[in-house]
């Protein structure tokens, strides 16, 4: 059985579900109960598009314990068509080849081998376009 914490985040982490405000159209990832832009409380569920633009990145050399084995690893923020920005690891590319402004694609991967929650965590990572 999945721990509740993993199950709860599955729509976002596994299916990239976002919430689009029915009133003003603002998009939030993950979902919210009230729109940060207009205060409306009803949303449509949409999916974040698969390709985003990298707006900044870093290479982390001193991670928390559950990421020790992968260190150093790149972490970036991508901006997507819907207006949402997402933080995730940038993988399958050498650090020297990562450039701000490049397009990256979202893929489903194992993220943590064993977090403080004591479970294997799966979710999205950014990879280069094929």
């Amino acid at each position: 059985m999945f721990p509740a914490r993993v199950a709860r985040e599955m729509p976002h982490r596994y299916r990239l579900e976002a919430a689009k405000c029915k009133k003003c159209g603002a998009v939030f990832f993950p979902h919210r109960l009230i729109c940060r832009e207009c205060g409306h409380r009803e949303f449509d569920t949409i999916n974040v598009s698969a390709i985003g633009k990298l707006i900044s990145y870093t290479v982390i050399h001193t991670p928390a314990s559950q990421f020790k084995d992968e260190s150093p690893f790149a972490l970036g923020i991508c901006e997507f068509l819907e207006g949402v920005k997402i933080t995730a690891q940038v993988v399958d590319i050498a650090a020297a080849d990562i450039k701000t402004g490049m397009d990256l694609q979202i893929e489903f991967r194992r993220v943590q081998t064993d977090g403080h929650a004591g479970v294997i965590g799966y979710g999205y990572k950014f990879v280069p376009l094929i």
Partner: protein, 385 residues
């Protein structure tokens, strides 16, 4: 609202204080603050602490600290806003005295960070970020500020040397602060060549892991003379604001809106403009933070903060002296205590007792204390009453 004054301050030399426990750290600073005054007893106490639970397995911070401070049954409230916990505690204490609910309030801050491993501290600090949408993916605090640093450098053409200049300046100031954790001079080259933590940030861009506490005593300004012969320091402005917890949800990675808004509130309340401020302590948890904060406070236009530091404008003798104490970078950063210690430095500056790091003719001072990657900010403005 009643006028409120700071009449006493206390801390200890910060560092890796292995022989001092969580409770002893706090009590030592609080007793030093009490000894700086003639107050007969404390009416209420606010304690800034980010995460006693993760660093030392101790919550219920108000109870344990009132107990070990020897103040039987003293009501005590612990306040948290990540690394801005101390500033948030000061805001609560200010309001408590201003309201008339209490006359004598002790505001303290404490963090015992070296009882856990380096990994453990990285985990504990990361709980100030979005656990599910940043930390889960591997974000650390240096990592988040590194994302800001790269965006800033690429947008404004800031250089590696310019980041390093902030660390060099703050270590120069810290040399003159006997309570600073690291009293050592740095060169730009040393910072540039130090170990990489989160590209582009290196270890000497980062504030250290620190054990420490700080405390001050507030009372109504009308009673200040009863409790101290030193000049009372009046709190004339107080601002606080939040922003999205996740860095990626901000409108812009190179701005700090919570800092800007909290400063605007405090300046408005004080009836002052940024140009009226003689001395400022800001939250330089990383070199890039001091640069962006100095812009958010209105001292320099966006993109010009890095150059302003290089040009000496933020040195003790500059137009906007920033972190005369050495800042978090040299003084140390026991997260819950930092905001309170910033106010202590301003008190020393306004009293004219800051020694070699004294800013000349300092009449009005400001503190800016930040939580997380900019998810909260607290600003206070003080003047000699």
């Amino acid at each position: 609202m009643r006028d409120v004054a700071i009449v006493g301050v206390g801390m200890q030399k910060w560092g890796e204080l292995w022989e001092k426990s969580f409770r002893d750290l706090f009590v030592e600073a609080a007793l030093n603050a009490i000894s700086d005054t003639k107050v007969p007893k404390i009416d209420h106490m606010y304690i800034g602490c980010m995460t006693g639970g993760l660093f030392v397995g101790q919550e219920h911070v108000g109870s344990i600290m009132a107990d070990y401070l020897g103040q039987k049954h003293l009501a005590a409230t612990r306040v948290e806003s990540a690394c801005a916990s101390g500033g948030a505690a000061l805001r609560c204490g200010f309001i408590e005295v201003a309201s008339g609910m209490s006359d004598i309030v002790l505001v303290g801050g404490v963090e015992k960070m070296t009882d856990v491993s380096g990994d453990g501290a990285t985990y504990a600090l990361a709980t100030a970020a979005d656990q599910e949408y940043e930390v889960f993916h591997g974000a650390t605090f240096p990592g988040l500020y590194a994302l800001m640093a790269r965006a800033y450098m690429e947008r404004y053409g800031a250089t590696r040397d310019q980041l390093s200049a902030v660390a060099v300046k703050n270590h120069d100031n810290g040399l003159n602060n006997p309570n600073a954790q690291y009293q050592m001079k740095l060169t730009v080259q040393q910072v540039n060549e130090s170990v990489m933590v989160a590209d582009p940030l290196r270890i000497l861009d980062c504030s250290p892991i620190t054990d420490g506490a700080a405390a001050l005593i507030l009372c109504p300004l009308s009673r200040a003379k009863e409790f101290s012969d030193k000049p009372p320091i009046k709190i004339i402005g107080c601002g606080m604001a939040t922003d999205s917890i996740a860095l990626h949800d901000r409108r812009d990675l190179t701005s700090l809106d919570a800092v800007r808004i909290s400063a605007e509130q405090a300046l408005k309340m004080a009836g002052k403009k940024i140009g009226d401020i003689n001395v400022t302590e800001v939250h330089d948890c990383f070199t890039i933070a001091e640069i962006i904060v100095s812009e958010a406070l209105g001292m320099f236009p966006a993109g010009k903060g890095a150059l302003a530091c290089v040009n000496g404008e933020t040195r003790v003798e500059g137009k906007f002296p920033i972190n005369a104490s050495g800042g978090l970078k040299s003084k140390g950063h026991p997260v819950g205590a930092t905001g309170v210690a910033q106010a202590i430095e301003i008190v020393h500056q306004l009293r004219g007792e800051a020694g070699k790091r004294q800013v000349k003719n300092a009449k009005i001072g400001m503190t800016q204390n930040m939580g997380g990657s900019g998810g909260s900010s607290v600003v206070h403005i003080m003047e000699v009453a």
